[in-house]
């Protein structure tokens, strides 16, 4: 059983983009959720992230994050309504509660909880889209030269989590298959067994990492240098090869990188400009005031539009452009008049 948040490689722009570009784009949207409190803007960011996730094919991740986010939001609203008694519009007086004291449920506290919950839900959707669409191997590869040991730990964890989940599912099945005369298995023995099994698994994964050469220092050879296996009877050696083209050295890039970086920067620029122009107008207490000025609506509209960044360009149009380039003609291909 795969986690809905597990990365699935798909030929979509967000998955094809390099981790830096994808993180710049998603990170900018998540940053807005932390910087703004206006619910219109928060809803716009959430909507943008949902669109982005669905365009990237991460339907299950978005669904699961929305479900979890709204559940958490509901919890926050209830707790905030019971704990905070500030606000002018009292909806219910619930009297003295142990630990809580006098409990007055106010409209402002509910709206304040709603904003906090909305923020949490937006952040969860953002991380769900990241988890389902950004290749963790490429992220770790980018991290390795900077922090070798941290990358090793992250590699072990990222591999062990799904393996432990699969082990837990198998152990649960085996517990259900025990005969009625066998000792029943409670949670504690099952957890102990899972922990012991995970340690064995960790040893296996660590052995594999050793065999893949992870115990060597992080790759720090100068660009253009390569280490070849030793030849007959000789010790290993470093052979210098001609400098490759800059693109080859940089490795796999995506034509969508620029788009995500530009949209990420634009989101940040709009966010900063919006803050300066009062787009985040919102106050909770004593009476709730939600800014609905032009700046707020423009920022919300632009942020919603940013969710279209992972949109794939129509292949038909791309093909026609290619044909035109090949023939050097500016005319439309046959049949498209």
């Amino acid at each position: 059983m795969r986690s809905p948040f597990a990365y699935i490689p798909r030929p979509r722009p967000l998955q094809l983009a390099s981790p830096g570009a994808a993180v710049a784009y998603l990170g900018a949207l998540v940053a807005v959720a932390f910087l703004y409190s206006n619910p219109i803007v928060l809803l716009a960011v959430g909507f943008a992230l949902v669109i982005a996730g669905r365009l990237a094919g991460a339907h299950a991740a978005v669904r699961a994050a929305l479900w979890m986010g709204f559940t958490l939001a509901l919890l926050i609203i209830v707790v905030n309504a019971l704990v905070v008694s500030r606000g002018e519009t009292v909806l219910a007086r619930l009297g003295e509660w142990p630990l809580f004291g006098q409990v007055d449920v106010t409209l402002e506290a509910i709206i304040s909880g709603l904003v906090l919950g909305l923020r949490a839900a937006v952040v969860m959707v953002g991380f769900a889209v990241y988890s389902a669409c950004v290749d963790p191997d490429r992220v770790l590869r980018a991290l390795r030269p900077i922090a070798h040991r941290s990358a090793l730990t992250a590699t072990l964890v990222s591999r062990l989590v799904p393996v432990a989940a699969a082990d837990a599912a198998r152990l649960r099945d085996a517990a259900r298959l025990r005969g009625p005369g066998a000792a029943p298995v409670g949670r504690a023995p099952l957890a102990r067994r899972l922990l012991a099994g995970s340690l064995d698994r960790a040893v296996d994964v660590a052995a594999t990492l050793e065999l893949r050469g992870y115990s060597l220092d992080s790759p720090r050879l100068p660009s253009g240098a390569t280490l070849f296996p030793p030849k007959e009877g000789r010790k290993r050696f470093t052979r210098w090869v001609p400098r490759r083209t800059p693109q080859a050295i940089r490795g796999r890039r995506s034509r969508y990188d620029r788009r995500f970086c530009v949209v990420g920067l634009a989101v940040l620029a709009v966010t900063i400009a919006g803050e300066a122009l009062g787009a985040d107008a919102f106050s909770e207490y004593p009476a709730t005031e939600i800014g609905t000025g032009a700046a707020t609506l423009i920022v919300a509209a632009l942020l919603t539009l940013s969710g279209l960044a992972p949109l794939r360009r129509s292949p038909r149009r791309a093909r026609s452009v290619q044909l035109d380039r090949r023939t050097g003609s500016n005319s439309l291909p046959a049949g498209r008049i």
């Binding site: 339907h59 390795r144 259900r176 005369g181 594999t208 050469g213 490759r244 080859a248």
Partner: protein
């Protein structure tokens, strides 16, 4: 001149001298005075019973022993001229690739491309040369279509190929494989062995392959090294190995060699092709063998023998499908599994099958054919989307990992009371009540897990209902398989219907009365074991492939057929 000759002499791919190794806290050495040398380009097979030291030997050759496991080591190991005892596995990674038995524990990345590329990245290769090496190895192993897939969406066979690709991508001088076919179906297993042979011939890679199912790979090997109690018991060519095994350890004999030795035909055959060649030139020529064109099971021309098979298959179906007398009866069973985001597929499609009390049935088919899903559905772990399952009695299922059933530190704590005692007696473990399950041997652990599944489901000495086993022979040597055949027979005698999912054709031939063959979620053959296991190529025993006679699948049956012409003559 002497110097020039020495300079051009290639270093052995593996050279071991006087190697003795003891695991930490172990009392006896796992390897004892092992010495051998593998020249470059050789394909060597490492044979031996379970716990004979094969895996430890391979771990020593790739540097995991002693660097990863610790322990005391004496002697010398050199891999392509590098001292493996002073260099660690990371440094040896450039010259040696290692593929372990369980492919799931050998992947550390999320996608196939990243997994294959990782060793090159660790070595510091630039992206351009990494991309080329990944492409080349993917083409060599026929996995380019898998490169962009997530590793947890791959089948066992695909995952094993990916692990092999990761081991080969650095173009190592030596590749070590520890029972790589134990989880593969016969088709994928054969493909892997011949792929290794092709890489060995075309790339010049030295291959050292540890394997229990020798009949599968003996024909591909140049040399056999047999281990016993941590020492090299035999080191030589495959044909002489068979002669040696005849006297030294019958568990290492291949079925074809056993057939020949029963009849007294010399020399012993190294594979099916050699066996046919020897037979065709001997007085024991087999009359009535089918031509290869008639081998497809339900198509092609029908001989008199095949008509008889079809009749018998119908007889078996008629006899076994009566729900009133069945230990389990399944009608029109459909099961759908959901994988990933939007993927779901019908894993079982309209299955009709029934097992009678006391009947021994082998459930066979390729990886992903639906064998485990059928057993899980019968045991109630999986909900069908359509169909009817009738189980008048109890069902006990032993899944692929017996260790999953063992959660306590004392056998008696797993199986308390009279019901537990009865279950332990049934599997012959009543003496081990005070033992820690982790101290039991692999075979004993499997028996204990079976006892846990059966406890409380017995009616006195009798076993009403169905006992299902899923791939019970993974990593087992032939001696342990023979023990399991005995246990399965005992359970059937007590009245249980036995349904055993297995890839092991020889094991199925040894225990099963009937074979149900699944293909892509449907029953494609259901008949007597002698008929089904002699009616194809991949799902056929070695003896059936050699003799190609309907109904002849074991060495004993084959010997009977071969003896007749000479007796009559």
């Amino acid at each position: 001149m002497q110097f020039a000759a020495a300079a051009t002499q290639p270093a052995p791919a593996l050279s071991i001298a006087g190697l003795t190794y003891t695991y930490p806290e172990a009392t006896a050495p796992a390897l004892n005075h092992v010495s051998l040398s593998l020249p470059p380009g050789e394909f060597a097979l490492l044979a031996g019973r379970s716990a004979s030291g094969k895996s430890t030997f391979l771990r020593a050759a790739c540097g995991l022993v002693p660097h990863f496991h610790g322990g005391a080591i004496e002697g010398r190991i050199e891999v392509a001229g590098i001292d493996a005892i002073s260099a660690g596995p990371g440094e040896l990674a450039a010259v040696v690739g290692y593929v372990a038995q369980d492919p799931e524990t050998q992947v550390v990345s999320t996608t196939v491309a990243a997994e294959v590329e990782l060793p090159l990245e660790m070595r510091g290769d630039p992206p351009a040369s990494r991309a080329r090496a990944v492409e080349e190895v993917a083409l060599a192993l026929a996995i380019p279509h898998l490169l962009e897939r997530a590793v947890d969406t791959l089948s066992g066979g695909e995952l094993q190929r990916v692990a092999l690709a990761a081991a080969l991508v650095t173009r190592p001088r030596l590749v070590l494989l520890d029972e790589p076919t134990s989880q593969l179906d016969p088709v994928a297993g054969d493909e892997l062995i011949w792929l290794l042979r092709r890489l060995n011939e075309e790339w010049g890679v030295t291959v050292l392959l540890a394997e229990h199912r020798l009949e599968r790979c003996l024909a591909a090997a140049d040399r056999v090294i047999a281990m016993a109690s941590g020492s090299v018991a035999y080191d030589g060519n495959p044909r002489d190995f068979l002669t040696w095994a005849q006297d030294a350890d019958e568990a290492l004999e291949t079925p074809a060699a056993k057939l020949f030795s029963l009849v007294g035909i010399e020399p012993l055959p190294v594979g099916v092709r050699a066996a046919r060649k020897i037979l065709s030139s001997s007085e024991h020529r087999v009359e009535g063998s089918r031509t290869p064109s008639s081998l497809n099971f339900f198509g092609g021309e029908e001989s008199a023998g095949r008509e008889r098979i079809a009749e018998k298959v119908q007889d078996v179906r008629r006899g076994s499908a009566s729900p009133s007398t069945a230990a389990v009866a399944v009608r029109d069973l459909w099961v759908e599994l959901v994988r990933g985001d939007d993927e779901s597929r019908d894993v079982l499609r309209g299955i009709d099958v029934a097992v009678k009390p006391g009947e021994l049935v082998a459930l066979m088919g390729r990886n992903g054919a639906g064998k485990s899903t059928l057993l899980r559905t019968l045991a109630g772990l999986q909900e069908p989307v359509r169909g009817k399952i009738e189980i008048p009695g109890e069902i006990a299922l032993l899944t692929q990992n017996p260790g999953d059933y063992l959660v306590r530190e004392r056998v008696g704590d797993e199986l308390p009371g009279d019901a537990g005692e009865a279950a332990l007696q049934l599997v012959g473990l009543e003496h081990a009540v005070e033992t820690d399950p982790r101290d039991l041997s692999g075979g004993e652990r499997q028996r204990l897990a079976l006892a846990i599944a059966l406890a409380g489901r017995m009616d006195g000495e009798a076993l009403p209902g169905l006992v299902a086993l899923d791939e019970p022979t993974r990593g087992m040597d032939r001696a342990r398989k023979d023990d399991l055949v005995g246990l399965i027979g005992d359970l059937a005698e007590r009245g249980a219907g036995l349904l055993v999912a297995t890839h092991d054709v020889e094991f199925a031939a040894a225990f099963a009365e009937r074979v149900v063959l699944l293909g892509d979620g449907v029953v494609i053959a259901d008949g007597r074991a002698e008929e089904v296991l002699s009616g194809g190529w991949y799902f056929a025993t070695e003896v059936a492939r050699v003799l190609d006679l309907p109904g002849v699948i074991t060495p004993e049956q084959g010997a009977e057929v071969l003896r007749k012409p000479t007796e009559e003559g």
